[in-house]
Symmetry: C2
Subunit: 328 residues, 2 copies
C-alpha cells in the first residue's frame, strides 16, 4: 500500500510538500509539483479518502438509507437527491435495510461515516433516529414525521392523496368501494387510508367494509394476492384504491387473468405515479407524489442544516390525481 510518504520520498520532498502538490495548491513550484505527480504516477499512488476525512472532519457525503435499493418508487426521489447534493458539491452513497441485519445502515447511522443522512425505510426505529441525530449530524426522514432537533421531514401529503382517490370515486358515482392497504407498520399507508376514510365520511358514505379492505405489503405479488382474495370472494366493488402502484400492477394482473375488465367492471386507482404506471395496460390512474421535488427538498434540508441555515422542520408536498385508463 503506497502512501503519501512513499511519494514524498521518491520525489525527494517532504510529506507536507507532497500533500500540497497532490492537492493542486498554488503554494508549490511547478517543477516540484511535477516531480511529485510523476512519483505518484510511478508508484500508482491512491490517496486514502478516509484518512483525509478523518483529518478534515467531514466526508462531503450524505448517506441515503432505503428499504430496498432498487424499488422503482425510489427512482425519481434518488434523482432529486443526487442532483441537489451534487450542486452543493456533496456525494451520495446509498444502502438498504433489506437483510434482517441492518448492517451497513447501522454503520452509517452510528459511526459518523457520512455528514448526514436521508432515510426512507420504516425498518429504522424512531428512537434510533432521535438518538442519532445531532447538531453535526442532521437526519431527514421521508417516511414519517418526527419532531426533534436536528431531525427534519419531507413527505407527500398522503392524507390528501387518499382523500383525492375517494373523492374521485364518489364523484364518478361509485358506491361499492374497496381498498388494498400497505404494511400495517407503514405510516404512509395509514395516512392514505385515513384520508380515504375521511372523505367517505365527509360525503356521508359508509367506510370501506372489511371484506373489501385487504392488507398488502407494497409488493407486486402482494397486490396480486390481495386482488385474488377479492376475486374469490365473488362480489367485487366497482372502485378499488390500491395504496401503491406496485401492488396495483399485481392487482391488474390478477384481474386480467380472472377476466375482470378494468375499468369497465372495476376502476383501479394506485398511488405514487411510478414511471411505469403509464406503460402498463390499462395505464394506471394514480395519485402522484412529487417524488423528484421531495428528494431535492430533502437534500436541501440536510445541506442547509450543515451550513448553519436552519431549514424548515417539516414539509408536506401536495399530491395530485393523474387520470389514466384504469378508472372511469
Amino acid at each position: 500500500m503506497t502512501t503519501i510518504k512513499d511519494v514524498a520520498k521518491r520525489a525527494g520532498v517532504a510529506v507536507s510538500t507532497a500533500s500540497l502538490a497532490l492537492n493542486q495548491s498554488e503554494r508549490v513550484s511547478p517543477s516540484t509539483a511535477e516531480k511529485v505527480m510523476k512519483a505518484a504516477q510511478e508508484l500508482q499512488y491512491r490517496k486514502n479518502g478516509w484518512a483525509r476525512d478523518l483529518k478534515m472532519q467531514k466526508t462531503q457525503m450524505i448517506g441515503l438509507i432505503l428499504h430496498d435499493l432498487s424499488g422503482p418508487f425510489y427512482a425519481s426521489i434518488i434523482k432529486g437527491i443526487e442532483q441537489t447534493l451534487l450542486s452543493y458539491g456533496y456525494g451520495l452513497i446509498a444502502c438498504s435495510t433489506l437483510g434482517e441485519t441492518l448492517g451497513t445502515a447501522e454503520r452509517f447511522l452510528h459511526e459518523r461515516r457520512v455528514d448526514g443522512v436521508i432515510i426512507f425505510s420504516s425498518d429504522i426505529k424512531d428512537q434510533t433516529l432521535i438518538d442519532v441525530s445531532r447538531e453535526d449530524f442532521p437526519v431527514v426522514v421521508m417516511d414519517r414525521v418526527l419532531s426533534h432537533p436536528y431531525l427534519y421531514s419531507v413527505t407527500a401529503h398522503n392524507h390528501q392523496g387518499g382523500y383525492q382517490a375517494a373523492e374521485y370515486f364518489i364523484k364518478r358515482g361509485h358506491k361499492a368501494i374497496g381498498y388494498i392497504s400497505g404494511p400495517a407498520n407503514n405510516l404512509d399507508s395509514q395516512l392514505r387510508l385515513k384520508g380515504f376514510s375521511q372523505c367517505l365520511a365527509d360525503y356521508h358514505f359508509a367506510d370501506v367494509p372489511t371484506k373489501w379492505h385487504i392488507r398488502g405489503d407494497y409488493s407486486q405479488q402482494g397486490g396480486y394476492q390481495a386482488a385474488r382474495l377479492l376475486i374469490e370472494q365473488g362480489n367485487l366493488p366497482t372502485g378499488l384504491f390500491v395504496s401503491n402502484d406496485e401492488m396495483a400492477f399485481g392487482a391488474l394482473k390478477a384481474f386480467a387473468e380472472a377476466g375482470v375488465r378494468v375499468p369497465e367492471d372495476l376502476s383501479v386507482i394506485g398511488f405514487d405515479d411510478v414511471e411505469l404506471s403509464q406503460y402498463v395496460r390499462p395505464s394506471l390512474t394514480t395519485i402522484k407524489q412529487p417524488k423528484f421535488e421531495m428528494g431535492s427538498l430533502a437534500a436541501h434540508k440536510v445541506i442547509q442544516h450543515l451550513q448553519g441555515d436552519a431549514p424548515k422542520e417539516h414539509s408536506v408536498l401536495p399530491t395530485e390525481l393523474i387520470e389514466r385508463e384504469s378508472s372511469v
Copy 2:
C-alpha cells in the same frame, strides 16, 4: 464531537481500556466495562468509523457502482450481491454515475473508500478500471469483459440470448423481423445483436434490414419512440426483438396506442426478465438473465479475492427464453 478519549477520561480509565470495553473484549473486567459503557452513554459517544478503518486497513464494505441507482433491472442483482456480501460479514454501499460528473463513483474508485468494487455502468472507462484495480482492490465488472489481474467479470451470455430470440422467431415462421437495439457504446447490446444476426445467418436468413433496426437508449421512452418510428414507416415486421425489457414496455405502449395488436399483428421479445415483465399486458416474452445469481457470483468473486482465493476470472451465465403473451 466526543471521542473515545473523552469517554476514557470520564470513566477514569486509559484509552486502550475504553477501546477494549467498547469492542466487547473479554479482556476487561465487567465492572470497568460497565463504567465505560455508562460514560459513553452519558457523553452520547459515537465511534468514528473512518478512524477505525484507517487503523484496521479495511472497511469491510464493498462499493457498487451503477449507472442508475434505481433501474428496475438492477433489483435482483443488488439482492444477490447484498445477500452474499452479508453472509461474509461485508456491507454494501452503492452509488450511481448518473450526473455528468462521476463524483462519488470516482471517490470509491480512487480513494480506497471500500475494499473492492462491483461495477455495472458503462460510464466508467476500461482504462480507469485497469488503473484502479490491484491486489488489494479487486474489481468486478458486470457490463463488459476485461482481462487484467485483479479484474474479474460476470456477465450473462448476451450473444446466446440474442441467438435464442432470433431462433424463436425463425422456428415460429416469422420472416419479417425487426430489432430495437441499445445504446451504441453498450457492449451488452452489441453482443445481443451479434447473437441475433448470427442466428439469422445460421438459418440462411437475411440480416435485419436497416429500416427495421432502430437504435434505442434502454429507456422506456426510448423504446416508445423507436416503436413510433417503426409504426410511422408503415410496413411493420411480424417479429420484433427489443434489447431490453424497459424499452419493450415503451414499445408495447406505442403499439397499443397505434392499434397494433400484440402478439396477433406483431410478436415482441424483450431482454432481461425484469420483475414487471410478467405484470404488463400483454405479459412480455423475454430473454431472462439470471440476475440474482450474477449478483451473487460477483460478490463471491470480490470476497474470494480478498481472502486470497483467486476466483475464476470470467464467468458467463446462461440466458433463457421465457415465453409469455407478447409473442406467438
